[in-house]
Amino acid sequence: MFDTAMTWNDLMFMLRGAGVTLWITAIAVGGGTALGLVFGVMRSALSPWVTWPLAFVLDVLRSVPLLIQLVLANSFQAIAGFGWSPFVTSCVGLALYTAALCTEVVRGAILSVPETTRRAARSLGMTWAQDQTQIVFPMALRVGLPSWINLTLGVMKDSALVLWLGIIELLRASQILVTRLQEPMFILLVAGAIYFLISFPVARFGERLEKRWREHD
């Protein structure tokens, strides 16, 4: 089992791939969360009659496979002459996808704040903005943060798909090694272990957070 032709250099190659995975995830989650916050607040504050086009687009982003979205994004940037590198295209594609998922998290969290609480805040003379920042947001954060952590982990795992655009992230790096060394099981297990070591502790942390906050309610 441990009799492998894999060298330290090969492992470094995989770890560099893992670095790319994390880097893309960070950019996509950063951009996607910023957009998701804006969209989420819009969708919860404005009438559905106004926001339905946005809602529709986000729904499409959630119902079409990410792989198809990435291919479309790449093809579109070529047609439009943006001249984006696969890396930029991947980040943009993943960020939009993240934004669609994040909007739902934000909206769900805001809607979880009881109407009565908000009415109480407004009746104390708070403005809409004060109500949002002082009351709604802190309360919604408790509901939304665990889901957001799951979302981030989901994007980290989904980011493997950017290999289709030729980016050498963790999974693509492993595939290259598999082709060269012909030890698929061993190399994939290493790749899986790296994913697991990134994801599992964070997921556990999220679960703990969720449980702790629920107990304090």
Binding site: V60, S63, V64, P65, L66, L67, I68, Q69, V71, L72, S75, F76, I79, A80, G81, L153, K157, D158, A160, L161, L163, W164, L171, S174, Q175, V178, E183, P184, M185, F186, L188, L189, A191, G192, Y195, F196, S199, F200, A203
Partner: protein, 221 residues
């Protein structure tokens, strides 16, 4: 900026082929869900069992399924098993990968649902002379499926989205596979994949609608 002529008409000619692919996509998704649900029920029972020999493997399954990419799981089925001389076709590898993933996520969904059923239901079943297994099957399981119906529907949509990953292991007959093949021949990438996107969207919506009808038929109470 756009010195590109869209040729929708040419892409549109391929619609029948793509619809055939959509059927294969749906087929894999449905199969993976049925297999996934079956295994998930067993995993849910095993994860809360007293025996460590049942609990440990079930927990491992769930954690691996949830903490590694679906694409990794499909790669394991397709490339990884090759180390043991097991070579799965793209279809089987894709199906196995998605079913593995479904089972892991649904197990946790089911466990949550089981915890939401009052303990007194079990008592009521047992006090009527039903055994543990009978109580689970006749009293708890129907209620568990009802409580977890919506998340299960969502998992079905995820399964449809995951089928698109098959193309990376050489799957050629599902919607993405066929679209990719047509793309390789005609290079109308944007048009073809946009059409595929529309079809995926429609499949997802159809599944949601069907789920609503099934729920309405099934859960009269």
């Amino acid at each position: 900026m756009f010195d590109y002529t869209f040729q929708w008409r040419q892409a549109y000619r391929h619609l029948p082929r793509m619809l055939e692919g959509a059927l294969v996509t749906l087929e894999i998704a449905v199969l993976s869900l049925v297999i996934g649900i079956t295994i998930a029920v067993l995993l849910a029972v095993a994860r809360d069992s007293k025996s460590i020999w049942l609990r440990a493997p079930a927990t491992a399954w769930v954690e691996v399924a949830r903490n590694t990419p679906a694409l990794f799981q499909i790669y394991m089925a397709h490339f990884g098993l090759g180390s043991f001389g097991i070579y799965l076709s793209p279809y089987v590898a894709l199906l196995a990968g998605i079913a593995f993933n479904n089972a892991g996520y649904l197990c946790e969904t089911f466990r949550g649902a089981l915890r939401a059923i009052p303990q007194t239901q079990t008592r009521a079943g047992r006090s009527l002379g039903m055994g543990q297994a009978q109580t689970f099957r006749l009293i708890l399981m129907p209620q568990m499926f009802r409580i977890s119906f919506l998340p299960t529907t969502n998992q079905m949509v995820w399964a449809i989205l995951m089928t698109s990953l098959g193309v990376t292991v050489g799957m050629a007959t599902d919607l993405t596979g066929i679209t990719q093949n047509l793309n390789a021949r005609t290079f109308r990438t944007f048009e073809l994949f946009a059409m595929a996107a529309v079809l995926y969207y429609l499949i997802a919506k159809a599944v949601m609608l069907a789920a609503r009808l099934i729920a309405w038929r099934l859960f009269r109470y």
